[in-house]
Every structure is written in structure tokens, then in C-alpha cells.
């Protein structure tokens, strides 16, 4: 019992330390990528304190953290003080608690357990192994993020904060549906809500879910961007419109808690994308497939592969930020309800059908590759249908007709350039 507790504590410590450091250094990475994309050099000054060693600016996160810690903890007079403090705490604790069920590797070889007295099982690189409702747990906790945001916006007693909070609540609720539908597709194929099982299935078949369910993958990625409130869906913050959105009134430690939570959302989203759709720790040929007699090389390779994949997805997140402008709120909503939700349903139905008739279909379509090809066909058709039929794009150009008013319209007091039709 003691060993298990220590094992869990060690894993929690590792995860917390890794996540916090990771979040700090991802901030630096974000700033670097932002700079490089804009042809700037980026932060490259801060190195080891009190020396002239610069280390490409790797000391920057430390300096940033210190700055936030020593900043004045200003609380405006007009805020609801309890909720104002509770909001960032709730969002950060929810964001961290999600990682209880997210594997950050696979398992360690049995030889490791033998070295440690009291350990009678293989160490799984997961804080809470064996939780059967892993995905539901993730879903539940990620929904709590809405509370953090909307409470912060409400407690700030500031119209920009409130607008940010309202936008955020609408956005997060809207994108939870397509996200859920995409996850259900994965759950159906895996037959389990445990993330380890999802990875295990992908590793054993060698077919990542992204290949098997392209449309589900797409829906999930888009929804993950929206859930993490990353560009092009960062409407809750939208500094050009809302100053800082829901955290306008925050400063110092409470602000950094919010910012860390935001980065954790992105990291969570990356973990989920990798685990659910990109094979987790699996890579053909080097990661093996059996957990029981895993070698040290394979165990480490799995950790490395998983982390490289996550790093890649995070870089993708950051690159998308500078490649796409922010969408308008109506576009955001129509994308969720008119495009992503139907596509998610199409994916679910297709997966369900294939899972139900898997045995007989495999015979007809010629093995697992045939099934994948069928999924791709369905996906392509659905995507083209969505592109042609649904308002993926909207016409924003100035319409001459709306500017040139008839005399009658002018008499009615209609202003040019304002669409009057409802």
C-alpha cells in the first residue's frame, strides 16, 4: 500500500513538475514562433541570472514567472472578491486534475518493479491507472473550465470581462458536442473508455485512428482548438476587441494562474489528439506491442515518441495561430452547429455501422484497409457536402445594392451600408 502511494506521489510530482515547466517553456516557444513567423528574432536575452550567458533566452520563463510573482496583486474595488479569487483556482485545478487519467508514456519494464521492494506490478506511466471512465472524467473536468472563465468574467464586474465570459461559455458548450461525437467514434472502435486501451488498440492494429476516421479526426482537432480557445477561436480573449476578455481585471499571480490554465488546456488538447487519433506512444517498428515483456529501449522509445508527437501538435497549434485570422462570432457558431455537428454525426454513424458489421464487411471490403478506405470515402463525401452546402464560408464583401439606396428607403431613414433585411 505504501509503495503504491509513493508510486502515485512520485508520478504526480513528475507530472506536475513536467507540466508546469512545460507550460512555462511552451510560453517561450510560443513567443519564439510568433517572432520567427513575423521575421523577428524573439526573446533571446535572458540566460543564467547574474552572468552574461544568454542560452538563447532560455531563462525567460523564469524571469516571466518571477515578474508575475512579484507583481502587485491588484484587486479592483468593484469586483466580487470571493468569486474573483475562486475563478482562476477552479480553472487551474480542473485543468491539472484532467492529467490524472492521461498517460504520459506506456509502462516501465517488469525489471523496474523488481528493483523496487514492495512493487508487485508493472509501473504504468499514468497517475490513476485502471479508471474505466477515463474519457468521461476528462470530459467532465474540461467542462468545468467554463465555470472558471465565466466566473472570472462575472466577478470582474467589467463589461469586457463579462462579454469574454459570455462568448466563452457559448463557445465551449457549442464545441463540446462535436468533440463528444468525435470521441464516441474512437470509443466505439476501441470498446473502452480508458485511454490506455485506445492507444493499445491503435498499437496492436498499427492503424491510427486519424487514418481510420479522418472526419472524426478533423472534427476533433477543430473542436480541440475551440475548447482550448486558441486562434482562430480565441474569441473569449480577443484582445483587439475585448482588451483581455475575461481576465481583463486580473494581474499578478491570479493572472498567471489563468494563463497557465490556458496553456494546460492546449497541452491537454494535444495529449488527447495524440492519444485518441495519432496512436499515442505507438510508432511502427520501434515501440513494440506487448506490455508484459517490454524492454527498457521500448519503454523509453514510447515516452519519447509520445512527447515528440505532442510537441509537434503544440507547434501546429502555434503555427495555426499565425496562419489564420480570428473568426467572427457568428462564423464560430455556424461552424459548430451547422458543420461540425453534422460531420460528427456522419462520422459516428459510419463508425457505428462499420463496427456493427465489421466481421462481414471485412470479408467484402478486403481486410482492415478496406474498412479504412470506406471511411475515407464517407469522409470525403461528407466534407465536400459540407463545403458546398453548408456556410463554411460567408460573403462579407460590401454590397453595392445596400449602399445605393432608393429615395424611398432614404425617406424611411435607412442608413446606407446597413442591411435592413432580417
Amino acid at each position: 500500500m505504501l509503495a503504491i502511494s509513493i508510486e502515485a506521489l512520485v508520478k504526480i510530482a513528475l507530472l506536475m513538475g513536467g507540466l508546469m515547466t512545460g507550460a512555462a517553456y511552451f510560453v517561450l516557444l510560443e513567443r519564439w514562433i510568433a517572432a520567427w513567423v513575423q521575421d523577428r528574432k524573439g526573446p533571446n536575452r535572458v540566460g543564467i541570472p547574474l552572468t552574461k550567458i544568454k542560452l538563447f533566452g532560455l531563462g525567460q520563463p523564469l524571469a516571466d514567472g518571477l515578474k508575475f510573482i512579484f507583481k502587485e496583486e491588484a484587486t479592483p474595488g468593484h469586483v466580487d472578491k470571493i468569486l474573483f479569487t475562486l475563478a482562476p483556482i477552479s480553472i487551474l485545478s480542473a485543468a491539472l486534475a484532467i492529467f490524472a487519467v492521461i498517460p504520459f508514456g506506456s509502462v516501465l519494464p517488469a525489471s523496474f518493479s523488481e528493483m523496487i521492494p514492495g512493487l508487485d506490478h508493472q509501473v504504468e506511466l499514468l497517475v490513476a491507472p485502471g479508471i474505466d471512465i477515463g474519457m468521461i472524467y476528462i470530459f467532465a473536468l474540461s467542462s468545468i473550465a467554463v465555470y472558471g472563465v465565466i466566473l472570472g468574467g462575472w466577478a470582474s464586474n467589467n463589461k469586457y470581462s463579462l462579454l469574454g465570459g459570455l462568448r466563452s461559455s457559448a463557445q465551449l458548450i457549442a464545441y463540446e458536442l462535436p468533440m463528444g461525437l468525435a470521441i464516441v467514434g474512437v470509443v466505439l472502435t476501441a470498446g473502452s473508455l480508458r485511454l490506455e486501451d485506445v492507444i493499445g488498440l491503435q498499437a496492436s492494429t498499427g492503424t491510427w485512428n486519424a487514418f481510420a476516421q479522418p472526419i472524426g479526426f478533423l472534427v476533433f482537432v477543430v473542436a480541440a482548438f475551440a475548447e482550448a480557445a486558441r486562434l482562430p477561436f480565441d474569441l473569449p480573449e480577443a484582445e483587439q476587441e475585448l482588451i483581455g476578455g475575461y481576465h481583463t481585471e486580473y494581474a499578478g499571480m491570479r493572472l498567471i494562474v489563468y494563463l497557465i490554465a490556458e496553456f494546460l488546456h492546449m497541452i491537454t488538447a494535444s495529449f488527447l489528439i495524440v492519444i485518441l487519433f495519432l496512436g499515442g506512444w505507438h510508432f511502427w517498428g520501434i515501440t513494440g506491442s506487448e506490455n508484459a515483456n517490454i524492454t527498457w529501449f521500448e519503454a523509453i522509445a514510447r515516452i519519447v515518441v509520445l512527447n515528440i508527437k505532442i510537441f509537434g501538435v503544440i507547434v501546429f497549434f502555434m503555427m495555426i495561430r499565425w496562419s489564420w485570422p480570428r473568426v467572427r462570432f457568428d462564423q464560430l457558431m455556424s461552424l459548430a452547429w451547422k458543420v461540425m455537428l453534422p460531420l460528427g454525426i456522419v462520422n459516428l454513424v459510419a463508425v457505428a455501422t462499420i463496427v456493427e458489421y465489421q466481421k462481414s464487411l471485412e470479408g467484402k471490403l478486403g481486410g482492415p484497409w478496406g474498412v479504412t478506405a470506406a471511411m475515407w470515402g464517407v469522409s470525403l463525401l461528407a466534407w465536400i457536402a459540407a463545403g458546398v452546402l453548408a456556410p463554411l464560408h460567408s460573403d462579407n464583401s460590401a454590397q453595392k445594392d445596400s449602399f445605393v439606396l432608393s429615395a424611398e428607403a432614404r425617406n424611411r431613414g435607412v442608413r446606407p451600408g446597413v442591411t435592413t433585411s432580417i
Binding site: W36, K41, M319, I320, S323, I384, G387, D395
Partner: protein
């Protein structure tokens, strides 16, 4: 301008093709552009060690200077046109009858709040005698707000500092040929 004005040209937005409606090609195109810039040559420099190259000092808008005429007197005639043109209201002039026979009016005091200044160059445009000019000195620093209010002596000393590197701009009004 009315929307019906013949000078207004209405342009039809190009219609999106199938690829455009599919979005994915556009996303890949955007990512390709950002990726290209990720590795391209950087425009910024590591400032104190490297200094940026100023393309044309004649059109650069840095710290102001007050020009002197060939007798070493301030050229400014205290017409207040720079102060009038200044959108940031950072120029403060006190005029007085000039001590010289060939001029009626000169500036007894001339102060520019460099912290308030937005370096738009309107003062230079407005000046009828080319007395105020913007130099290519850009890295001005100070330890207090008071220090950053440049008075007449300081502005004249900027002229002494920069006159060799950057001659007066207008030839007809006494600038270098």
C-alpha cells in the same frame, strides 16, 4: 463620398472555387506561408550590439534639432506653425522681439517634450524657414521626464552633433547643396 459617385469603383469579389470552399487547401497554403517565414531572414537586430541600418537619413524621423543660420543664430522665427501642426501638442515656444536687426521675432525659449512627441514629422513639414528638422538619431534615452523635455540649447546642440553627417535639407533656405 456617395456610393453612387462615378469615382467609386465597385469590384466583384472573386468567387470561391471548390478548393476554397473545402478550406483545407487554404489552411495548408497559410501554413506554408508561415512556415516559410519561420526560417527566413530576420528583420530585427540585436540592438545594442548591432545597430539597424538607416536607409535614408533625410526621410528618417528621429530626434529633432533646431538649425542654425550661417551666423550661428537659431533659425527659428517663433511663428508657432510647428506647435500648431503638432498633433501631440509637445512643442512649447515663447516668442520675443529678436535682438538682431534683420529679424523681428525669434524664439526666446523652444522646448519639445520628446516623450510626448509621436515623431510624425509634421513640425518639419510646417516650418517655413526649415528651422526644425528631424535627424536620424533614434536611441534617445533619459533618466527623468524633465530630462526628456529638450530645450533650445539641447536642440541646437543636436544640430551641432548632426550637421556634418546630415546637412540641412532645404537648399533654397540655406541648406547644403
Amino acid at each position: 463620398m456617395q456610393a453612387t459617385d462615378p469615382n467609386v469603383k465597385w469590384i466583384e469579389e472573386p468567387k470561391l472555387g471548390l478548393a476554397g470552399k473545402m478550406y483545407i487547401p487554404a489552411v495548408i497554403g497559410g501554413l506554408a506561408t508561415t512556415t516559410k517565414h519561420l526560417f527566413s531572414k530576420k528583420m530585427t537586430v540585436s540592438f545594442p550590439e548591432e545597430r539597424p541600418e538607416i536607409g535614408n537619413p533625410l526621410i528618417y524621423r528621429g530626434v529633432h534639432r533646431l538649425n542654425k543660420d550661417d551666423q550661428g543664430r537659431v533659425k527659428c522665427v517663433a511663428c508657432f506653425l510647428c506647435a500648431t501642426a503638432c498633433p501631440a501638442h509637445c512643442i512649447d515656444i515663447i516668442a520675443a522681439p529678436s535682438p538682431w536687426p534683420d529679424r523681428d521675432k525669434y524664439c526666446e525659449s523652444f522646448a519639445i517634450d520628446e516623450l510626448r512627441c509621436i515623431f510624425c514629422g509634421m513640425c518639419e513639414e510646417a516650418c517655413p524657414v526649415d528651422a526644425i528638422e528631424l535627424t536620424s538619431l533614434f536611441d534617445l534615452t533619459g533618466r527623468s521626464r524633465e530630462e526628456m523635455i529638450f530645450d533650445k540649447e539641447k536642440l541646437l546642440s543636436v544640430y551641432d552633433m548632426t550637421k556634418d553627417a546630415e546637412p540641412m535639407k532645404s537648399k533654397s533656405l540655406g541648406g547644403a547643396p
